[in-house]
C-alpha cells in the first residue's frame, strides 16, 4: 500500500517537474525565435503587458550581473548546490510540501539549463502600469515563486501537517 502510494506521488511529482520544465523551455524557445525573426527585443506590447526579450546573467532583480566569467561560474555552482539541496528535500519531504518543492525544482532546472547553455537566462514577461514596470521575469520564475509562497503557507498555517494526518 505504501509502495503504491509512494510510486503514485513519485510519478505525480515527476510529471509536474517535466511539465514545468517543458512549458518553460517551449516559451523561451518561442520568444527567442520570435525576437530573431522580428530582429527587435520588443515582440509584443499592450497597455499592461509587454513581451520583450532581456538576457539576465545574474540572479533575482538583476543582482550579481558580473562580466567576469569566473564569478558567473561561481554563481552557477552555488545555484547548482541549492538545486541539489532542494532535490534532497524533495525526496525527504511528504505531503503538500513535496508538490511545492517540485514546482521550485522544475523552475530552477529550467533557469539552470539556460545559465549553462546560453550563459544567461532569458526574461521576457514585463507587466507594467503606465510607466511603472515590474521586474521582467519568465515562466520558470513564476513556478519558483508560486512554489516558495506555497511552502511559506505550509509552514505558517500548517496545512501540511493536517494533510499528512489525513
Amino acid at each position: 500500500m505504501t509502495y503504491k502510494n509512494l510510486s503514485k506521488t513519485f510519478f505525480i511529482n515527476l510529471f509536474l517537474i517535466i511539465t514545468i520544465f517543458a512549458i518553460d523551455r517551449i516559451s523561451k524557445i518561442y520568444v527567442i525565435s520570435m525576437s530573431n525573426k522580428v530582429l527587435v527585443s520588443d515582440i509584443f506590447s499592450s497597455k499592461f503587458l509587454n513581451i520583450s526579450l532581456i538576457w539576465n546573467e545574474g540572479i533575482a532583480f538583476g543582482l550579481f550581473s558580473f562580466n567576469q566569467n569566473y564569478l558567473y561560474d561561481l554563481l552557477t555552482i552555488i545555484i547548482s548546490i541549492i538545486i541539489f539541496i532542494i532535490f534532497v528535500m524533495l525526496i525527504q519531504q511528504k505531503g503538500l510540501r513535496k508538490y511545492a518543492l517540485s514546482m521550485i525544482f522544475g523552475g530552477a532546472i529550467g533557469n539552470l539549463y539556460d545559465r549553462i547553455f546560453f550563459q544567461a537566462v532569458p526574461d521576457f514577461i514585463d507587466f507594467h502600469i503606465a510607466d511603472f514596470h515590474w521586474f521582467i521575469f519568465n515562466i520558470a520564475d513564476i513556478f519558483i515563486t508560486v512554489g516558495v509562497i506555497f511552502m511559506i503557507f505550509c509552514e505558517l498555517i500548517g496545512i501540511n501537517d493536517q494533510y499528512e494526518k489525513n
Binding site: A60, F61, S65, I82, D123, H133, I136, D141, I144
Partner: protein, 105 residues
C-alpha cells in the same frame, strides 16, 4: 523561531533561483562581446591617382565597333563605284574599235 529561519531560507532560495531583471538594466546593460570603437582603424581619405589626367577618354567597345563597321562600308562602296566606272570605259573602247573596223571595211 524555527518558522522565521525557514522563511528566511525560502526567501534566499527564491532570490537565487529566480532570474528576474529590471527594465532599466535590460535596456542599458551592454553585451560583453561589444566591439571597442577605439580599436577600429581610421581609413585615409580618397585621393586622385597621379596620372589620372593622362588616361585616354573612355569609349565603349560597341561604339568603336560601330565606327569601324561604318568605315568599312564606306570603303567598300567606294571600291565598287571605281570598279563599275572602269568596266564601262572598257566596254566603250571595245564598241568604238569594232565600229571603226566595220567602217573601214
Amino acid at each position: 523561531m524555527k518558522k522565521i529561519r525557514k522563511f528566511i531560507l525560502l526567501n534566499i532560495i527564491l532570490i537565487f533561483l529566480t532570474s528576474c531583471s529590471t527594465v532599466k538594466e535590460g535596456f542599458t546593460n551592454p553585451k560583453k562581446n561589444n566591439s571597442d570603437e577605439f580599436l577600429v582603424q581610421k581609413k585615409s581619405p580618397l585621393v586622385m591617382p597621379p596620372s589620372y589626367g593622362e588616361l585616354p577618354s573612355p569609349t565603349s567597345k560597341e561604339t568603336l565597333k560601330k565606327n569601324n563597321d561604318i568605315k568599312d562600308l564606306i570603303e567598300k562602296s567606294n571600291d565598287q563605284t571605281v570598279q563599275v566606272d572602269g568596266s564601262n570605259n572598257l566596254n566603250k573602247t571595245l564598241e568604238n574599235s569594232i565600229l571603226g573596223k566595220i567602217k573601214n571595211n
